[in-house]
Point group: C2
Chain length 403, copies 2
Amino acid sequence: MYATVPAIRGFGGPSVARRRAAMVGAGHTKFGVLPEGPRALVRTAVEEAFQSVDRGFERTAVDEAFVGTLGFSGWQLGNISAVVAEEAGLVGAPVTRVENACASAGFALRDGVRAIESGAADVVLVVGVEKMNDTTSSRRRYWLGVSGETEWERSAGLTFAGVYGLMASRHIAEFGTPREALAEVAVKNHAHAERNPNAQFRKAITREQVLAAPRVADPLGLLDCCPVTDGAAAIVLAGEEIAPRFTDRPVFVAGTGAGSDYLALQERPSLTSLAATRWAAASAFRRAGFDRGSISFLEVHDCFTIAELLALEDLGFAEPGKAAELTLSGATRVGGTLPVNPDGGLKAKGHPIGATGASQAYEVFLQLRHTAGARQVEGAERALTHNVGGSGASATVTLFSAA
Amino acid sequence: MYATVPAIRGFGGPSVARRRAAMVGAGHTKFGVLPEGPRALVRTAVEEAFQSVDRGFERTAVDEAFVGTLGFSGWQLGNISAVVAEEAGLVGAPVTRVENACASAGFALRDGVRAIESGAADVVLVVGVEKMNDTTSSRRRYWLGVSGETEWERSAGLTFAGVYGLMASRHIAEFGTPREALAEVAVKNHAHAERNPNAQFRKAITREQVLAAPRVADPLGLLDCCPVTDGAAAIVLAGEEIAPRFTDRPVFVAGTGAGSDYLALQERPSLTSLAATRWAAASAFRRAGFDRGSISFLEVHDCFTIAELLALEDLGFAEPGKAAELTLSGATRVGGTLPVNPDGGLKAKGHPIGATGASQAYEVFLQLRHTAGARQVEGAERALTHNVGGSGASATVTLFSAA
């Protein structure tokens, strides 16, 4: 192991000539405890993505596909990419499986964007999928745990709720973060999810309910935690000069960034900041060439309520310790100055591990085309998605622009 | 499922302007039944890769890394990318894990190349690793099997040797392929491995031994099958204009191609050809803009002896049914007109699943710099690597050039 996190590296900035990738289609299954298996989930999301393309779409246009999945649910354990090729009707085309825990689809999207930016592909399909509810409860625990650090955390019984509980405790100790702010994250995201027909929980909750819920890992209670979810989402990307063949409302990928961190909390200098998110945001903004002030809304990785506060701070939208205040002010609600997780977030929309990064991009696709219905962020022009692997060992940030 | 394999797609040809990626460093552990765990294997291969850079190398130059691994060996099961970040001393930098069964590192290399071609990264590390021998024998069976098709093959007890045994039987029935040709693949690759200090089996064998070996899955005997191997390999890639900072002997990636196929044999129109290999080769050659005649040697995916014959035919270096003749002629030996697997191939060098694609690129790095010692292919200028996932559900082909 190496003690120091290296200086930020030279991810090609906006001066490097490149061809932009654009989203031209997107599909999404319902999220929840579903009867469908993973093959059916993939097929549903992909078909919807193809059918969403304004000027029609033939699957033969797809040059290549990427799939993000943790994939420990007992279906095809290795070689999942081949299953996706079959269910998407793309047998013959390259399909690459990417696994970076809960950030799998964020990284898959990033690879898909590069395939287009490099000129290697004109049209790319990105799929995120996870089937979490088909296992026994004992296997489900195992299944979720595999992304945790094995030697020091899993072996000691530390769950993901436990890891984030430690972060929350430390954040409270360091900044005096009120529990009401954690609760408000859940309340807001449930309120947003009420307006999302694909969400797992379409039910408003109150701060009192969150605060009174049974403790899972103090200070996090049951309503501070995202649920166990089945689901899939799919995105169709095209090179910017080709996008007009498919739609006159493409959503451009302005920049992607990613970062990593030590897997075990004990190796990290801070429990109140995810360094991977900071690296990812810095490189994405550098690549996009625009600043935080121009972002209309955020999709952040709120696997636990504390994670949304950490995200606001690490992404640079709040000073360290100040996300609670921002959240309690109402700014992060749809209708506020910086809406966060208009789709309900992982907390209320649900968090099918490998699907989440693609689901966030799906929301951006709707919002930046002003087709998000009751949860539309007015005048949305630019957006950020933030997808975290495990307890912060990896993260992606992707910036999108309507023009 | 869809009955037809779609027409070949428009993977950007050589006319698409792009920045080439070049190999500037490469490292390789010994392959075999090793005492080291996966963390140590990663560290050894990466350190050797960094130290192989002619003009010196600081790890802070790395913008991003990709790791190929199947990763079912009981170590960190999810989020392996974070472990690689730690062991490579790259915490902070993005690391993406790619899993396409036995082609994991081939696809990881492809993603790394795109990161550079797109201008998103200047220097990329690609790692392939697998630890196969630390499991009990019953778990090892499971572990290897996860890349097989689950519903129709694994459940029926069909192993990978069984799958390739079916292909071999059909090839013999269709083309009259002599068993001596299968045996000659093993004999040749063992002869090559004798000259490779990293190989698992450095021992010559005879055709008689191969033909007399115990049957594993008729017509394949024990000496037709690659071994169960631990190992890792690592490649340092740089943008072509940056490569001279590191070496004046870079090895350029001229083109990458990949393809997919149905996972289950029963869905495929032919048992004597891997369609994924054909797609991959077609797109790689199209991208590279040069032809088969200019290739000095091949590194192909000979997990079983029949697989090398299939590869020669599917890659377009022999007509269907004619690879046996080519092999028996001696052409595929080092010293012949088209050396195949000068490093000993999967058969004799060993096949640590997720490492193989990177190991093949390592061999190309040595050969095209004319530093392969006793197994040097004289005057080698261009090379092809071929990496297959499972029984052909996915494949990559990468073309390299010394200039």
